[in-house]
């Protein structure tokens, strides 16, 4: 199987079983948070995607339209991108994104992939997104008593102490 065929199969899976309508050209497909764990499980157990590749969380601030009386376009939220890979040729990478609201959390992939343990800890530490039922959600990089999450967009880097301004 070539990588293009593997990608087509992945897209077909998303459209048929996970209700994704549109696959953007320059971005990874956005799926509903409730399908996150199930998609990873199906890919691992039915399609043979065994290698846990990455998880990337990012933080987005509230977006307002300055021309239109500061009307709110999008509220503050997180986005978590996950990638898993199949072993051997064509080494296709299946990746997707999930939108997570500030007060929500996302299920951990630890029961499927042992690597999620440290990777999700790192994202929690640096970005602040929380993972449900993670066995050991401690900080990984920063000291245990550190305040704030450095990769958030509201975390200023000019000062070395709170309130980070």
């Amino acid at each position: 199987m070539t990588r293009d065929e593997a990608q087509q199969r992945f897209v077909a899976l998303l459209q048929e079983r996970f209700g994704v309508e549109e696959i953007p050209d320059d971005n990874y497909p956005l799926i509903d948070a409730k399908h996150h764990f199930e998609l990873a499980r199906v890919l691992r157990e039915e399609f043979g995607y065994r290698i846990y590749s990455f998880v990337v969380a990012s933080h987005y601030l509230e977006k307002v339209d300055a021309k239109n009386d500061n009307a709110v376009i999008d509220i503050e939220h997180y986005e978590v991108a996950t990638g898993i890979r199949c072993v051997g040729a064509p080494a296709h990478l299946a990746s997707w994104r999930v939108r997570v609201e500030l007060d929500q959390s996302i299920p951990t992939l630890f029961p499927l992939f042992a690597g999620a343990d440290w990777q999700e800890r790192e994202q929690y530490d640096l970005v602040g997104v929380r993972f449900d039922e993670h066995p050991d959600l401690r900080r990984l990089m920063m000291p245990e008593d550190w305040e704030g999450h450095p990769l958030r967009k509201d975390y200023a880097i000019e000062t070395a102490c709170p309130p980070w301004r």
């Binding site: 990588r3 320059d26 971005n27 990874y28 065994r50 290698i51 846990y52 590749s53 990455f54 990337v56 990012s58 991108a81 990638g83 890979r85 072993v87 051997g88 040729a89 064509p90 080494a91 990478l93 990746s95 994104r97 499927l112 992939f113 042992a114 690597g115 343990d117 440290w118 990777q119 790192e122 640096l126 066995p135 050991d136 900080r139 990984l140 990089m141 920063m142 000291p143 450095p150 990769l151 880097i157």
Partner: protein, 393 residues
């Protein structure tokens, strides 16, 4: 529990046999065998480790945050310092990610140069691993620092080659988005062939040290067995996974540079122990030598930069798209995830994540250490070859 060995990395020490003679021992943060600054808290029952809790972050420099502040041109010399044993790979990973997102085509000559640099760097990196591993095992490999000095001598010749091209022994800043900065001279090809001949001959001697040394075998065979399924599930790639029977190498399976035209041999071992990891790395060194020899004389003429050089550091702009691209570094899959559309209208990344193979490798410590003695723990840590600059970033 994921492992076939039945090791629980989150074992509750309170529930352990209350009559046991428990002791807590901190391996690190400044233990020589950690090759950097890394702490593993060991819970010992007598002399046997029952739980290992690693603490990373002593070398955390906030590289990912820094990459959000600097432009794409400026971050290339910064990421050099991540995996400080193979800086060429870090540069290539970042440059390739930007090229993939901008759709820039790299000229063939630059692709050949990148392949040559990557393979020489892999050789240098594995040589450094071999030397430091020999020191970790103490007397088992020719006594103290003997092998360490030999390997550094060989590695120095490769760094000399890089110096000839880039002007630096280390932290080269030779890759740019769209190609390379420094071209090779005809002398480089000649020097490289001489160097490889010497290294190949001396590698034979080092293999002799390994294969005929009973102490070495006793300290590595059957020690730290990593199961192939667990390796995949932890995201471990590269020589570590291949020593556990995972037949996966991005150079062959998802070719980049000019690897698609080459027939890259992938070496696997089934044992998954420290000895298997040694064998895989040694074979990879020979394969790197073969690849460089194969292509060093067929480097095509032509430009080495695929785009017009910019005048300002902010001339490369990536819009708000996302992308991931990866290469096979000496430690496994080194990837870069970029979310574009950051500061100065996209001249820097909104979020940049470096997927470091060393962090995944270090995450198997809680699975591998239990059941072994402290001296075995040092041997296991040595063969995992985690580079702390890359673990912590």
């Amino acid at each position: 529990m994921h492992s076939v060995t039945g090791v629980d990395p989150h074992l509750d020490i309170e529930t352990y046999d209350p009559s046991a003679d428990l002791m807590v021992l901190n391996l690190g943060p400044q233990h020589p065998s950690t090759h950097g600054v890394f702490r593993v808290k060991l819970y010992l029952d007598g002399e046997i480790i029952i739980k290992a809790v690693p603490y990373a972050g002593y070398l955390h420099r906030g590289v990912e945050k820094l990459c959000e502040e600097l432009t794409f041109v400026q971050i290339i010399p910064i990421v050099d310092k991540n995996d400080y044993v193979s800086p060429m790979m870090n540069e290539q990973a970042i440059a390739m990610a930007c090229e993939a997102m901008l759709g820039i085509e790299v000229p063939p000559r630059a692709l050949y140069l990148r392949t040559i640099f990557a393979e020489l760097q892999r050789l240098a990196s594995h040589l450094l691993w071999l030397g430091t591993f020999g020191m970790d095992l103490g007397g088992a490999l020719g006594g103290g620092a003997t092998l360490f000095m030999y390997c550094f001598r060989e590695r120095e010749t490769i760094l000399g080659l890089f110096e000839e091209v880039t002007g630096c022994r280390f932290h080269y800043n030779t890759h740019a988005v769209g190609g390379n900065r420094h071209d090779i001279t005809p002398k480089f090809s000649c020097d490289t062939k001489t160097t490889l001949e010497v290294i190949e001959k001396r590698l034979e001697e080092y293999v002799q040290i390994f294969s005929s040394n009973r102490i070495y075998r006793a300290r590595t065979q059957g020690i730290g067995v990593l199961d192939g399924d667990l390796a995949n599930s932890l995201g471990i790639t590269g020589p570590l996974a291949r020593a556990s029977g995972v037949d996966h190498d991005l150079r062959r399976d998802a070719p980049y540079h000019i690897y698609g035209e080459l027939d890259v041999k992938v070496f696997t071992e089934s044992a998954g122990d420290c000895f298997a990891r040694t064998l895989v790395r040694l074979n990879e060194m020979y394969e790197s030598i073969r690849i460089v020899r194969e292509i060093i004389d067929s480097v095509p003429e032509g430009p080495i930069l695929g785009m017009k050089p910019g005048k300002s550091p902010g001339h490369i702009k990536i819009d708000a798209s996302q992308g991931y691209s990866c290469i096979e570094s000496p430690r496994g899959e080194l990837g870069t995830y970029i979310i574009g559309g950051g500061k100065s209208r996209g001249a820097s990344a909104y979020r940049l994540k470096i997927r470091s193979p060393s962090l995944h490798a270090a995450s198997c410590i809680p699975y591998l250490f239990p059941g072994h003695t402290v001296s075995d723990a040092v041997a296991i840590l040595g063969t995992l070859d985690p580079i702390m600059g890359e673990v912590d970033r």
